[in-house]
């Protein structure tokens, strides 16, 4: 898996899987397991967002000269997701499943729409414009794994 789109898409799916597991545990009000799954999810998500913001996007911006284009929008969406994570953490601490599921539905849809933009447009553009994609994928892997 040396192509940027393949690796990053795989990370999206991985995050989705853990997210769904955490959400299912909250729905069952199984709070201990929910907490564990949720911690794993937030850690994986943060690593993924950091990999994009600190490694992938700067390289793409340098290669294309586009600093205020799609990467800027993606960065803003990352901040929106982080904002939602704060609300979700609060609901989890309060053991409020109704609030949690309302926010998790929101985060899920926001995350999926965001992922779709990255997978269909941004990652293929990165693959096309970054000169050493194998090296880039290796750097991303090193950060996330």
């Amino acid at each position: 898996m040396n192509a940027i789109p393949d690796y990053m898409t795989d990370k999206h799916r991985h995050c989705d899987d853990i997210f769904a597991e955490a959400e299912a545990e909250v729905a069952k009000e199984n709070w201990i397991l929910a907490e564990q799954k949720w911690q794993t999810f937030t850690r994986e998500l943060e690593l993924h967002l950091q990999a994009e913001e600190q490694i992938l996007f700067p390289e793409f911006e340098q290669a294309t000269g586009m600093t205020s284009g799609p990467t800027q929008v993606m960065r803003m969406e990352h901040e929106q997701m982080r904002g939602l994570l704060t609300s979700l953490n609060k609901s989890l601490v309060e053991k409020n499943s109704e609030d949690f599921l309302g926010f998790s539905e929101t985060l899920m849809v926001l995350m999926q729409q965001h992922n779709m933009k990255e997978e269909m447009m941004l990652y293929p553009m990165c693959q096309q414009n970054i000169s050493d994609t194998e090296q880039m994928t290796a750097q991303l892997k090193q950060h996330c794994d």
């Binding site: 609300s87 849809v109 926001l110 999926q112 269909m120």
Partner: protein, 427 residues
Amino acid sequence: MNLSGLNFSALPEINIIFRFFVCAVLFALGGAFLILISGAEVWQSRWHPNMLAITHCYTLGFITTVMMGALLQILPVIGGIGIPKVKQVANTFLIFHVIGTFSLITSFIWPISTLTIAAIILLFIGYGIYLVALISVLVKKLSQGSSIITIRFALCALLFTLILGLLMVARNLGWQIISFDKYITDMHAIWGIAGWFSLLIIAVSFQIIPMFHVAPEFNERIRNYLPKLISVLLLLVMFSEGHVQELVFLLLLVNSLFIGYLCYLLSLRKRKIPDTTVNFWRLSAVSLITVFILYLLPEKLLMALGVEQPTLTLAAMVIFLYVISIILGMMLKIMPFLSYTHLQQRCLLDFSLMQLLPNMHQFLPPKHGKKLFYLHLCTASVLVLTLIFNQLYLLLAFTLLVEFCWLLVLLMRCKRLYNVTIKNINN
């Protein structure tokens, strides 16, 4: 790849989409009102003027209005590019479409040439503007995903359905441009249902089933070949006058397999939380497969089962139980999501404002969505009964009125919360 053409934030204003949805619901309510005043005899023939009017209230009025509104939202997300001057295009289209469709529906009941001419001109201009704007985007080298390719096929089907429809309406004015018989009407209906509706449902499903439910992706071969297969079958319908029944059988088979496979994917979804949208998908699957089975039965057996108008019955089931079920399920997701996304855009410069935003369930509480599902189930059952026992039409009109009034309430409630939140953000 054209980098300069990318616009990740090309979402149309939320008011535009809500306007489309509200107009769609009003057409559905109009259909219910027509059923109420038309009497039992309209259920005896698909050619009855009032039945034509009722059919178009739901196909052109409800389904197409929702789909055209949703496309404005879908394209920027899955294609990465929006329609240029989206506000002007959407508003102009909506005005022409709404008045044109209203004229068409009333012209079926009162065949006054002024109404017919108005319908032809308004629909021609309205769809012309929208389709030119859409095509100008879709011919560009967007991400070549299966959804975008399928949307292209669906729009071709819409164009062909419209042309046939307008030519048929023109016949009422004595403009006999092509020969007309039952075959042309059937082709108009088949291209509308199996082309425009089904292909757009398929295109959107490829994206939203994995996205909303964390379900596995559709098989790549299905994504690549299914839309092409349906398009080829539709093309064959155009040139195979003597074999329409066999081709409809194949179209029903392919679509039934698709929806069956979709439900299988849903059963594998990782997101195992209660979700009314899943119930809408299941209802649509059961309905389409039932239609397919009924289609296989000999006419005598259908008659024995009380189905005196097989074509009308099956078409009504496909439109109301298959297509409209899916649309309602999707609206339950789209309405709160749009409200949230648009409010979020307002918080981009100050993230502390995000605390003011309601979550998706506050925009549309799950119990309200569930109520819509039960109301739809109730209406669907009464529709099936009315197709057999025509005198139940009053009950059908009543259930339709209740169902779509509730949908309108959900829309208004969602919009009201949006407006209140905007006020809080601005203060």
